[in-house]
């Protein structure tokens, strides 16, 4: 065995600084290209947080690229320069150093600083996401095996697998599931949320680019998981309004006038039993369950005139049925009758015919007296 002699103070090895400079130049150039990369060109940034998220992605890529360039660069360089050469004897050994506290301190501090920078940048973008505008259009999506249901505030029935959004309108989307866990992901929006049964999650974003995009399920949900894809169309405002009214027409509601005269009191009575009698009696106004009694709408002086300020007409009753009503809550001893909240027709699922029938029934009740 060769006698071990302490090595002289070493320099860093042949070409170390040249390689370091070369890697630095390469890193600078590649960082520039990464930082200025227009991700939008490859995957459109179709809605508001996408730009923010891509910015963070580019930032992480710049740092990740730098780490890779130096780590791989130096590994390859060390492997070449410090390789065992044929001239080395069988007992040849490397430079016997055990540690270098100063160097180790630096390679603890520098990655720590990088990680703090990444954390700060991530928290900043995260805060942007939390503060993303929403609520101008608030809607819901429910995942099913294997489709997406969309509920719009001004559509009575749900729309399936075809989501339309108006450009420039902040959207709040509540997502949940009816069966197993699904996920709502639009790559062009860059955000996703799992649709978990029994849990409502909220996504907020603002569509910015019109076009047709994909909604993709990323949580395994069964045999057709791979086919669970829906369409998200970002429309201009006009196209969106047109689409909504088209849907309304298709669903046969809201558009046409209600033919009150054609209502049948008997059908109305049956329907009242199903949908109204939980909250309303057919006694006088004061015979309250949740809402007031509705037996004497047209001749009971206790009934306030809710709609026009005049004595109620059948049209006024229809109006309340369609739109619902939020009355003052005077139950805590304030003067005046307490009326509470009457849900609208969407909540009660009332068609035009239903409303006409109900109105005839209520009119007939008053006439019985």
């Amino acid at each position: 065995m060769a006698q071990y002699t302490a090595p002289r103070k070493q320099n860093l090895g042949p070409g170390f600084w040249q390689v370091a400079i070369g890697l630095t130049v390469f890193n600078a150039i590649s960082s520039y290209f990464i930082w200025t990369l227009d991700i939008d060109k490859y995957l459109p940034e179709a809605a508001a947080p996408a730009g923010d998220i891509d910015e963070l992605f580019r930032f992480l890529s710049v740092i990740g690229n730098a780490i890779l360039v130096y780590v791989i660069g130096f590994i390859v360089y060390f492997s070449v320069v410090w390789r065992r050469r044929p001239s080395d004897g069988p007992d040849a050994i490397g430079i016997q150093i055990h540690d270098n506290p100063k160097l180790e301190l630096w390679w603890t501090i520098i990655p720590s600083i990088l990680m703090i920078a990444i954390a700060i940048y991530s928290v900043k973008i995260w805060a942007n996401l939390q503060n993303t505008l929403g609520d101008v259009l608030t809607m819901e999506s429910v995942g099913h095996q294997f489709n997406y249901e969309f509920r719009y505030p001004n559509l009575k029935k749900s729309v399936y697998d075809d989501m339309h959004l108006p450009v420039g309108t902040p959207v709040t989307l509540h997502v949940t599931s009816a069966d197993v866990i699904h996920s709502f992901w639009v790559p062009e929006v860059r955000i996703k949320a799992d649709m978990v049964p029994g849990l409502v999650q909220t996504l907020r974003f603002t569509p910015q680019k019109t076009g047709v995009y994909r909604i993709i399920c990323t949580e395994f949900c069964g045999v057709s998981h791979g086919n669970m894809v829906a369409k998200m169309t970002i429309d201009s405002q006009q196209d969106f309004s047109r689409w909504i009214s088209q849907q309304q027409k298709l669903q046969g509601q809201g558009g046409g006038p209600i033919a009150l005269a054609s209502g049948h009191a008997d059908a109305g009575q049956a329907l009242f039993g199903q949908k109204c009698s939980t909250c309303h009696s057919v006694g006088p106004f004061t015979q309250k369950i949740v809402g007031p009694g509705l037996g004497h709408l047209f001749d009971d002086p206790d009934h306030p005139s809710l709609v026009t300020g005049e004595k109620p007409s059948p049209e006024d009753i229809a109006h309340v049925l369609v739109n619902g009503y939020q009355g003052p809550d005077n139950s805590q001893g304030k003067a005046g009758p307490s009326i509470g909240v009457m849900p609208n027709r969407q909540a009660n699922a009332l068609s035009n015919t239903d409303i006409a029938n109900l109105v005839s029934y209520l009119v007939s009740l008053s006439q019985k007296k």
């Binding site: 998220i53 990740g64 590994i75 065992r84 490397g94 180790e104 990680m115 939390q130 395994f220 045999v223």
Partner: protein, 570 residues
Amino acid sequence: MAIAAHHRPGLIEGHDHIHAEPQGIVAKYIFSLDAKVIGVQYMIAGLLFFVISGMLAEIIRIQLLTPGGAIISADTYNAVYSLHGSGMVWMTIIPLVTGGFGNYVMPLQIGARDVAFPWLNLLAFWMFPIAGVILFSSFLVGAPDAGWTEYPPISLQGPPGTSLWCVAIFLIGISSTLTGINFLVTIFKMRAPGMTYTRMPLFCWAQLATAMLNMVATTALAGALLALFLERQFNVPFYDPGRGGSPLLWQHMFWFYSHPAVYIMILPAFGIVSEIFPTFARKPIFGYKMIAFSSIAIALLGFMVWAHHMFTSGMAPWLQLPFMILTMVIAVPTGIKIFSWMATLWGGKIEFHPAMLFAIGFLITFTFGGITGVFLAAVPTDLHEHGTYFVVAHIHYVLFGGSMFGIFAGLYYWWPKISGRMMNYRLGVVHFWLTFLSFNVTFLPMHWLGLEGMPRRVAEYRPEFQFWNDVASIGSFVLAASTLILFYNMAQSLIRGKKAPGNPWHARTLEWTISSPPPYYNFKTIPAVLKNPYDFGEPLPYFGLDPQEDEEGDGSTFAPAPHAETAERH
């Protein structure tokens, strides 16, 4: 055949003795209590399950050659990738790195004759092949189809095999826990005299950290699995939201285990390369203490980050921040390790033995996987990447490029010790380059597939993704073929390989001071340890090695310790 105690300073008088050699094939090779034999059994079973899980991976890649799915129905496909993941994680990597290398190498490295509880070891081992058989036999009754994570409620509706999956993973979990306890006690109580914690080989440090994780984290998995099993078989509503259960309960319990499990899989690989770098660079490992302590730091931090798998699953937004930041903190001790290994290369006399090539390859691919891990840790970017092929790419960079490369490196490194035969050097080099290149061809394109919108766990995909899927598939075929080279090399080594000397690499840890393969009692006399084992160029820091073990006859193996008198103090 007790050995006089005065040869072994520090040992309790009469406590240490060599048991009679077991007789008969059953006692020697099948139900052996010897940790080395059990370690080899783990390796054989683990490599067998590696082959099965690998073939499932190839079925996945053949299926994804065309957008419509080439060969199997979506049903079968779901079962195939679920068992591929479960098989690789629980039946391949974890048993290989803990049960396999841990059992074989760790007791030798600390100068012990066996682990602390050999019977427990035997029990833990036999749970493993039984669990493996149960897992793969689920194909007969309808294999689990909801991925290796088996999220309820979909796993509640899964085929009958999902319950078998629960049983199999529960069993292997108990086996892991037992092995964890066993290794912990072994390392705490059975180190050779003089082997203080800072003289312990780094592989043992890694096994220590892993054993802690195994012991604590796996119990959470056992609870979660038991609940899933009870809900599936006996309708007890733990996870069904319709009956007051919570699907997120599973996710929290599962990831409370499965994030530490990532470290269970990678820490031993860290340990393996920490042995290989100094040996083939002929240098002391750089920053011994920092590497040792960072293993413990990673293990502890590993318990505090599980919910970073759940950023999109549904949790209070503010809660995302601590999990995100703690995850990023782990990058610092991991970085310290990577830089220390690089510094070990610097100034070395690097020999590119296949073990060293795999260790260097590990360093590159694992660093890459670590960096994409930061992309997934940052909440905003994770919202885009979660559940896509980006995640698939990331886990394969850390589990294949990390753990499996570590296992390959360890196989080349300890093969002569285990088998007593040398492997073919050239074949090893070819294996490395084919594996390294085809690995990157397979998994690198998956990053952009995911970023562009390909979700994971799908049997079919959009036509514009076909090109990169085909590239990945072709890469995976080469990857599979390159693994065959390893198996061929092992087989030809067993049949006609050159006999291995006790210390073919001139390494310095204790397992290399005895013959290859070691006798069943490991050490005739337990040596005393004077220093940590990485000072090349100095005499071995052991006192009281048996001179008969010096097969090379050059005196290097048992050169007298420089300060023999210090041994007396221990």
